[in-house]
């Protein structure tokens, strides 16, 4: 993540060159006898037809300069092109007018508005000093029980959605963007923070309109579409209300541009969060397409492949994006990332979900099985996880029973899944009373707790109470993850038991 160094100054006068000595493959061109060029420098080629192509320097060898062109080499010849070396890394211009803009994958306006103004920012950012980070621990209520109660999101976290083709990840991301909010009244200490003082203390009974007003002031969405279909991009643009900046690289846009799209979006997010002090939610979709673009480019470069043809540096490359989330000590804003990726063939061990899971702070995994049962959101609880939840929930943040209750729900659901596996072979006839109770619990958890409406918003208190009631369907001596004290305190919820099919 970039700490924002002073905006880049205008580089030296761009060097213009009129000859390309060699053009190799779809991406690479070579210029020779050209000293004084920096590694990674931005390049602009104006071709014979007058079209502008962007590129960057990828290899310097003596006075030979190799550049990579984002829009490909088709149509380029040795003479007649004008190649400009811009004397700076690839950058984007940013000022506060960026809010509300629609831009292409390289940060150029596609909304008919004026060109971007403001200072230049290097899209690669600068790695953040780990000691400058502030540990994310402000609970974000998304209104989705399966996330809030079981894999809670906190401000400054990177929590991807692992989905598959055909599953409603777009709907879920839109719902999260619409509903996400901070509940400052849950903790008294939060109120003393200046940044939160400005908000009115909300209450569970506040109407939806008031809530969404409160949200508008606090959350800015930066949306990066990486190689998605046109209708997906349109849907996000339509449904995410409030202050949004979108970067759209469509499925038929140049592949190399996809490598820039998330970087431009994150640079914008950093500007909004750490210079303007806003809370930014970044949605990146689809990271699998990004990974494939990286593979395509790496193959064209001749890099040594590792797993499934992806380059060995896929991990470092993904990390250079995902690590650009978080909070900085002494700065009011934050960047929360929700990257979306589709698991090819529903395979969670595929390199892209696998490496993403190693970098991000947990994952929300969607399940085709639940989707087939018409459960929305089809969140597969067991592999889903939020690593920052431990310090973001509990006494003074959500509720003291949150963590142990979550533990117990997970343990019981895992046991219910085991029993379910068993019944597939031996049938339900031979089950013990306890195992039957687990089966019923698993069913209730999926149909009443995980399942909720596409715009239904449950407060964390509602989600937790619902969890307690579901546990009421199990024998008391099974609830070994809960202390006797907690059980006594929640006896009335346990005794009420699971709500009926229609809560």
């Amino acid at each position: 993540m970039a700490e924002h160094e002073p905006p880049l100054e205008r580089g030296p006068d761009p060097v213009i060159y009129t000859e390309l000595e060699r053009i190799e493959g779809p991406l690479v061109a070579l210029v020779t006898a050209l000293p004084g060029i920096g590694y990674g420098e931005a390049v602009e080629v104006v071709d014979r037809a007058g079209g502008r192509r962007h590129g960057r320097v990828v290899l310097l060898d003596g006075d030979k300069v190799t550049i990579e062109l984002f829009q490909g080499t088709t149509g380029l010849g040795q003479d007649g092109e004008r190649t400009r070396f811009l004397g700076r890394p690839i950058s984007v211009r940013l000022d506060k007018n960026i809010l509300g803009r629609h831009l292409n994958g390289m940060g150029e306006p596609i909304d008919g508005g004026p060109p971007l103004t403001g200072a230049l920012y290097n899209i690669n950012g600068t790695p953040l000093n780990p000691t400058a980070r502030s540990y994310p621990q402000d609970f974000i209520q998304t209104g989705v029980s399966a996330i809030d109660a079981m894999s809670a999101l906190v401000r400054g976290q990177k929590l991807p959605i692992f989905s598959s083709s055909g599953l409603p990840h777009d709907q879920l991301a839109i719902q999260l963007a619409q509903q996400a909010r901070i509940r400052p009244e849950l903790s008294r200490q939060e109120l003393s923070r200046p940044e939160l003082n400005r908000q009115e203390v909300s209450h569970p009974d506040v109407s939806r309109e008031e809530r969404s007003k409160e949200r508008e002031g606090e959350l800015v969405v930066v949306f990066a579409a990486i190689g998605v279909k046109h209708d997906v991009a349109v849907r996000f643009a339509r449904e995410i209300a409030g202050q949004t900046v979108s970067f759209i690289n469509l499925a038929d846009d140049p592949v190399m541009e996809r490598l820039l799209t998330p970087r431009v979006a994150l640079t914008t997010a950093e500007y909004l969060a750490f210079e303007l002090g806003l809370h930014v939610l970044v949605i990146l979709t689809d990271m699998t397409v990004y990974g494939e673009a990286l593979r395509e480019v790496a193959t064209a470069r001749g890099d040594i492949p590792s797993r499934k043809g992806y380059p060995g540096y896929l991990y470092s490359d993904l990390a250079s994006l995902f690590e650009r989330a978080g909070r900085i000590k002494g700065k009011p804003g934050s960047i929360t990332q929700i990257p979306i990726l589709t698991m090819p063939n529903d395979d969670i061990t595929h390199p892209i979900p696998d490496l993403t899971g190693y970098i991000t702070e947990g994952q929300i995994v969607l399940s085709r099985d639940l989707f087939r049962q018409r459960i929305y959101p089809p969140i597969n609880l067991l592999p889903s996880l939020s690593r920052l939840m431990g310090d973001g929930v509990g006494e003074g943040k959500t509720r003291a029973d949150h963590h142990p209750l979550m533990d117990q729900l997970y343990a019981a659901y895992a046991r219910a899944e085991e029993v379910r596996m068993m019944t597939r072979i031996v049938g339900e006839e031979d089950l013990t009373e306890t195992d039957r109770a687990y089966l019923a619990f698993g069913h209730a958890l999926e149909h009443q707790f995980i399942a909720q409406g596409e715009s239904q918003e449950r407060d964390i208190e509602q989600s937790l109470d619902l969890g307690w009631r579901l546990l009421g369907g199990l024998p008391l001596e099974e609830l070994t993850r809960l202390s006797r004290q907690l059980i006594d305190d929640h006896r009335s919820l346990l005794e009420q038991g699971p709500p009926g099919e229609q809560p």
């Binding site: 993540m1 700490e3 000293p35 004084g36 920096g38 590694y39 990828v58 290899l59 310097l60 060898d61 003596g62 006075d63 690669n124 600068t126 953040l128 000093n129 780990p130 000691t131 400058a132 980070r133 502030s134 540990y135 994310p136 400054g156 976290q157 040594i304 492949p305 797993r307 060995g312 470092s316 990390a319 250079s320 690590e323 061990t349 696998d354 899971g357 190693y358 970098i359 702070e361 592999p383 996880l385 690593r387 920052l388 431990g390 310090d391 979550m406 997970y410 343990a411 895992a414 031996v426 049938g427 031979d430 089950l431 013990t432 009373e433 001596e477 099974e478 609830l479 070994t480 006797r484």
Partner: protein
Amino acid sequence: MSAHTTQISGPLVVCDHPAEFAMGDRVAVGDVGLVGEVIRITPHACYLQVYEDTTELKVGEPVTGSGGALSVELGPGLLASVFDGIQRPLELLRERAGDGIQRGIQAPALDRTRRWTFEPALKQGAAVNGGAVLGQVKETPAITHKILLPPHLNGTLATIADRGEYCLEEPIASVRDAGGETHPVYMFQRWPVRIRRPVSERLSPDTPLVTGQRVIDTLFPIAKGGSAAMPGGFGTGKTVTQHNLAKWCDADVIIYIGCGERGNEITGVLQDFPQLRDPRTERPLIERTVMIANTSNMPVAAREASIYTGITIAEYFRDQGLDVALLADSTSRWAEALREISGRLEEMPAEEGFPAYLPSRTAEFYERAGKVRTLAGETGSLTAIGAVSPPGGDFSEPVTLHTQRFVKAFWMLDRNLAYARFFPAIHPLDSYSEYAGELAQWWQNLEQTWHEDRSALVELLLEADKLKGVVRIMGEEGLSERQRKMLLAERVIKEGFLQQSAFSPNDRFASPQKQAALLSVIMGQVRRLLGDETPAAQATRHFQLDALIRLKDEQSSKEIEAIRAWPNTNPR
């Protein structure tokens, strides 16, 4: 004749005038002085691995050698500090350059201005050999830092400073060698990271490193001076387990290496460690900890170096006669950094693109662990515990396999346990420790029935695992009453003994006494359960098994008698 860059390809830079450099030399590259290391020398070119981003570097910029290999500074000021992979002090960098890590920024690893109270241990005229203890500094309330003579210096002590306050740049002694030459000695020394520090003798590990985690200490223990690896897919709790070991293990000094991992995790440690207290000294944990943080977005070449930087600092504390635990999370990222550099050097790849020297580098790293007699004649140990992140959770990949060959304890993290939020998710059957036999006597001295109880526990787990296979095909109807009760017993063992919550104030750390007492109480009840006629359906209630499972969370390590007295301590 000075050298200049001739070729730039990411972190690999080539310069001319190779005669000016030696392999492994630390170099400053370009006008801003990026830190690099010489990794190949050919007749006309010298190849450099650069530890910082090379964007904007140009051909023709100068390259200068520092005249020495990539080294670390060793002396007072290491503890409670956070360094990057090449030992730049991150907190100081932040003060000087802001929140981002700027390219080419330099700062001494150890604070030169801070004054330390030096207490001499030797007198003028004493004969001294390398590694001798010249004196000491109380670095933190928890750790007394011994000031050592650099390993290759022998002679007589020409001068030694009196007790008093000195900063690192003031010599505190001088040594006259056999040739009559006098060498000043400071409170700190430098050591090249890729070379192991000498010891007088290697000893066999025979004392457990008590981690406070029952599944490790009781089932798969590690000795002080041992080596262990912890492979696990993402989400199986590698990092949390590493953090728990860093928090609660009974080493004197902890070296924690965040190698290519998440920035927020380092921040979490930095937030927790000043507040958490070492159960033995009651001092904040940060006072015994050195952190190396080279997060995943920091340059990949420095990630490769971070492992060596960490282990060299660990050896230095070991040389003071301390027990040091080094935790590296994750060694897979280090191997990937090796692969990336190797690829740019166009070396022939072996398995999955990794270079052929991956096994030997892995072996070299883990062999730097050990229990030793130091040059000064004291006993010290260095325990190395590496996390491994196998792609796709597949334990047959090269890094896991090569690591497995060079460590003696192997803690396999299991995805299904993690899904049920059963932590530590160390698989109780697939994991192993070759130290178990060597350390049994230590436990036997603590608790007479320990060996017997532990064997019974392991047998029961094995037997129950077979029964579960039967249940999966035939249902519980296929089992006898006794077999059903064995499954109940297995559950008590897993949930009441092996599972241990990092969030449980009474149980996040379990002393060996608590572990032994709990083992004895649980196995006693299991024997009664299995030896009794009560049908399985009533057994949970009759034997209060749910209460037995909660015992671990209800009684802390201070309440051994209450644990032994169970079920009479049971409040129900």
